[in-house]
């Protein structure tokens, strides 16, 4: 975009040759510097995105689309009332004709992509009537706003930026109805990241454009044609409806401004009230350990004693559990967090799955082994100095399954039945 803007500006200010030269000499050092600055990122970046696909699932229901973006689209569309003039009908017609490619090309692209994978019929059927209505509404909005952008740009009006932003916002919503980026969520919620990442940007673009559109529309209609100001009424009603949230949220979240009952923003307040020992343990870790220190805490897998007394895995699901709670609450490191989230963020490869599984096994072995030498060896292998026996560990490794850590590790915290243990230290130091 920057390159395009620079090129456009220079070509309009000078001859083609001079414009090109000026643009290249301005942009080349910038790009080189940017590439150098980003080199570490390029070298280490690995993306979860694994392809660009046509979306052939159920479409967004109109009620949902309206609830989320109705007021923003309505105020953004108000820009049509002042960015173009009725007497420019010929220009408007040309703009509409030219801009028709904006909704059409993505749709054709969708049809081709879906067809190429043999999913076209599924795509047509699965979208459902509501989905088609939403798609058509987004397409129409994107088309109208693009046409207004073209007309404004042709007339070199300041409105171009506003309607242009709104058009891009509408186009993002339209795009998320047709395509998705494949990632680890493809099985259950294929559009999850595509929708919410594009929606963020659409929200910002439409909000920026919509604010200006609403203010200018109101001012112009009141100044020039007061009778036409009713056009803004529906948009205003929607905006006013949206403002109910901040009005109600304040008394709601402050328990009616009652300082005694008000909710705190301290995320660990619940822990301090409900489990003071676990809270004390968490605070100790936060205060005594550095973020680089590695702490062994439960993997989240749950064990029970088998008939012969040996540990038996009874529940292997760890995501969205309390596993990794101390790392999350204090910032210290732990060898393994939520298994599928590790895969999500670090990449779904055989190598990673093996690594994460082996870490889970190692951490569980530290808790379940009866051999102190093995525990010490595993801790050193994981570069861990501390083992925590908190509330979650007592739940996940119940009975007498856990190793007697106190007999071979240093007890550095005792809070009720909860403990933090540390590797024994022995170091010869020279002082002269």
């Amino acid at each position: 975009m920057l390159a395009g803007a620079v090129l456009l500006r220079n070509l309009r200010a000078a001859s083609t040759a001079r414009g090109l030269t000026a643009s290249i000499t301005y942009l080349a050092p910038l790009f080189v510097a940017a590439a150098i600055a980003y080199t570490p990122w390029y070298l280490t970046f690995s993306s979860q995105a694994s392809g660009f696909y046509a979306y052939v699932g159920a479409g967004t229901r109109p009620a949902h689309a309206f609830l989320q973006f109705g007021s923003l689209l309505a105020v953004a569309l108000l820009s049509l009332t002042w960015s173009v003039r009725a007497r420019e009908w010929r220009l408007i017609a040309d703009g509409l004709l030219f801009s028709a490619v904006v909704p059409l090309v993505p749709f054709l692209g969708w049809a081709l992509l879906a067809g190429a994978r043999g999913d076209l019929d599924v795509g047509f059927d699965a979208r459902g009537p509501g989905g088609w209505v939403t798609l058509a509404a987004y397409a129409l909005t994107a088309w109208l706003l693009t046409a207004a952008t073209v007309v404004s740009a042709h007339r070199r009006r300041a409105a171009t930026t506003v309607v242009g932003l709104a058009a891009v916002g509408a186009l993002l919503l339209y795009g998320a109805e047709l395509f998705f980026i494949k990632d680890v969520f493809v099985g259950a919620t294929p559009r999850l990241n595509t929708v919410f990442k594009l929606s963020y940007q659409a929200w910002i673009l439409l909000a920026a454009a919509g604010g200006v559109a609403l203010a200018v529309a109101l001012r112009r209609s009141l100044q020039l044609r007061p009778a036409a100001s009713w056009l803004a009424a529906p948009a205003l009603v929607l905006v006013a409806g949206g403002l109910v949230y901040p009005l109600l949220a304040l008394p709601n979240r402050t328990e009616g401004f009652d300082s005694e009952r008000a909710k705190t923003i301290d995320g660990l307040d619940f822990l301090a009230r409900n489990d003071p020992d676990e809270y004390a343990l968490t605070r100790w870790i936060a205060e005594h350990l550095d973020t680089g220190d590695v702490v062994i805490e439960t993997t989240g897998r749950r064990y029970a004693p088998a008939d012969d007394g040996t540990p038996r895995l009874v529940d292997g699901s760890v995501d969205y559990s309390e596993a990794g709670r101390l790392a999350a609450r204090t910032g210290v490191s732990t060898p393994i967090g939520w298994y599928f989230h590790e895969i999500q963020w670090r990449g779904d490869s055989e190598e990673n799955r093996l690594e994460f599984s082996s870490r889970q096994d190692a951490v569980d072995a530290i808790y379940l082994s009866n051999d102190p030498a093995e525990v010490l060896d595993l801790m050193r292998r994981l570069d861990a100095e501390y083992v925590v026996v908190g509330r979650e560990e007592l739940r996940r490794y119940p009975g007498n399954l856990m190793a007697p850590f106190g007999s071979f590790l240093d007890t550095v915290l005792e809070a009720g039945e909860l403990h933090v243990y540390r590797l024994p230290r022995y170091e010869v130091v020279e002082t002269s």
Partner: protein, 558 residues
């Protein structure tokens, strides 16, 4: 001998003027010269007293430990390769005492009075003198300039850098030397560099290109030298001022926070400096006749204040030391101007009202001081009397301030209040800082005695000295030059002497060495209530001292 006199009003008038030459036959000494000599001696003697009497503590204990480790070839993150740290490490080749590095720091700050003297054309004769006086009595600046932390050269370097930035470089290569020194200094110079850069950028001042190239080369050379750890070996890219700036937010260089140290020691100088900066900004907007040095000072103070605010809760004195430098340099000329205005002010009513205010304030203070001694506010009758006297004092001051012509007569009251707040801290920092929060946490001299006892016992019993691993950082300095010792969390078999947590159960097979042994001492700042705060002013020994108790065991005789 020439005499420099100050005239009131504009900057040009603040600048020096040459008095008539003295008769060649008679040796005359001007009052100004005497004043300079007295204030300079005060500056130096206070710091020399601190060099001799301040216990090792705070950032100094950490950085001396780092320098010691570097001197014996041990890699230690407490060694931050500033020029001062490197020189300290070099000194440790021939001594084990902290006094030599401290004398090195003292030698550096001894150059501050002549540097301030050179600033007379910019601050005015009386302004420069007053600035030096404020620098002399600033407890935080005093302590920072007398102890051997990694920032030992910072105060002197910042002052000299300011001198050259406002007076110009004697030669372009001097900018290179300055760049190198800044790159191997601590963070106290950073606000000045940032302030100067801000002024240059905002005013688009022309740069001396040769000096800029030299300065850049100097900085690069400094970074290379620091990264090579002054020949000890390259480990990582090191930029000491930035490294120490960041470390100050994370490490505990002081028991009190930067905000608490401000409240305890230097708030009059800082508030005065901020007021003087406000006046300078006002003058910049209403007059074109503003010396560039004032712009740099204001920007310097602004960046230092930003650091102080950002590090308000960090446990360090460095941002406060960075603030008091420009604050004193701004406050000096402001007080000089105010003094001139005071002499010309209308004293008709002030001559009666100011003593009345002082007397009333004294009576109110006497009542409140009694509360502070008892650590509880008095009964209603006392409270009414205290409020009454305070109100009378305030009313008398307000009556003086009401007339613009008499307003300058309030200066003695402001100076008296400021002096009462600062001077106890000055005395504390210089003469008995072993009871001051400024020096805390302290590595007591007893820790060295403990080391001697441990060495003797180890020699008798034929084993190793074992120190609990929790004390790893604390024993580096007191146990320097003690041969091999073991850090362990469990008692090893070959232990002859154990230095163990006092709260831990006595180990089997060892007998306790009688005595109360401390490896460190923390002095808690009296900031948990205004009565406690006031009490500390009345009784400097009223603070809670938390000893770092340890138990000492030696192998029981068979």
């Amino acid at each position: 001998m020439s005499e420099v006199v100050e005239a009131p009003g504009t900057l040009a008038e603040e600048a020096q003027a040459v008095a008539p030459a003295a008769s060649p036959a008679m040796l005359t000494v001007s009052a100004g010269a005497v004043a300079w000599a007295i204030v300079s001696m005060t500056y130096l003697l206070l710091r020399f007293a601190a060099v001799l009497m301040t216990p090792v503590g705070g950032a100094e204990a950490i950085h001396l430990s780092g320098a010691w480790q570097a001197s014996i070839g041990v890699t230690d993150e407490r060694f931050v390769p500033t020029l001062f740290q490197a020189t300290t490490a070099l000194l440790f080749e021939g001594t084990t005492s902290e006094q030599w590095p401290r004398l090195l720091a003292f030698a550096a700050v001894a150059s501050v009075p002549p540097a301030i003297w050179l600033l007379r054309p910019h601050l005015g004769q009386a302004g420069a003198l007053a600035a030096l006086l404020f620098l002399a009595i600033d407890p935080v600046g005093l302590w920072s300039g007398a102890v051997a932390s990694a920032m030992g050269f910072d105060v002197a370097l910042a002052v000299w850098l300011f001198v050259f930035l406002v007076r110009g470089w004697p030669a372009p290569w001097a900018a290179g030397v300055a760049g190198l020194l800044v790159a191997v200094s601590g963070p106290i110079t950073l606000p000045l560099v940032a302030g100067w850069a801000a002024v240059v950028l905002i005013r688009r001042s022309p740069l001396d290109l040769r000096a800029a190239v030299f300065a850049t080369a100097g900085v690069l050379a400094g970074v290379i030298v620091a990264s090579a750890r002054f020949g000890l070996g390259f480990e990582d890219l090191a930029v000491p001022p930035l490294d120490l700036f960041a470390a100050g937010f994370e490490e505990t260089w002081s028991t009190a926070t930067a905000g608490e140290l401000l409240v305890l020691y230097s708030w009059p100088i800082v508030l005065g400096g901020i007021a003087a900066a406000g006046y300078e900004v006002w003058r910049m907007q209403h007059s074109g006749l503003v010396d560039n040095s004032r712009r740099i000072l204001v920007a310097w103070l602004a960046f230092a204040l930003a650091w102080l605010l950002a590090g308000w809760t960090s446990h360090q004195a460095a941002p406060l030391a960075a603030v008091t430098l420009p604050a004193a340099l701004l406050l000096g000329p402001a007080v000089a101007r105010a003094t001139q205005a005071m002499l010309n002010a209308e004293w008709r009513w002030a001559r009666y009202l100011l003593p009345l205010a002082a007397l009333s304030a004294l009576l109110a203070l006497a009542i409140v001081a009694d509360w502070a001694r008892r650590d509880s506010a008095g009964d209603t009758r006392d409270q009414i009397f205290a409020a009454l006297w305070a109100l009378i004092a305030l009313a008398a001051l307000a009556a003086v301030a009401y007339r613009a012509a008499a307003r300058a007569t309030l200066l003695p009251a402001a100076l008296l209040a400021g002096a009462l707040a600062v001077l106890p801290g000055t005395g504390g920092a210089a003469f008995h800082s072993d009871a001051e929060p400024l020096s805390s946490p302290i590595s007591p001299t007893q820790a060295r005695t403990l080391r001697n006892v441990a060495l003797e016992a180890a020699a008798i019993h034929g084993g190793v000295i074992v120190v609990h691993a929790d004390f790893a950082d604390e024993i580096t300095w007191p146990f320097r030059d003690s041969g091999k010792i073991v850090l362990a969390s469990r008692v090893p078999l070959d232990a002859a002497v154990l230095i163990w947590p006092a709260s831990a159960p006595p180990p089997d097979g060892f007998s306790v060495v009688q005595g109360e042994w401390n490896l460190h001492r923390s002095i808690e700042p009296p900031t948990d209530g205004w009565l406690r705060y006031l009490r500390w002013y009345i009784d400097r020994n009223s603070l809670d001292i938390t000893p770092g108790r340890v138990a000492v065991y030696s192998k029981a005789s068979p």
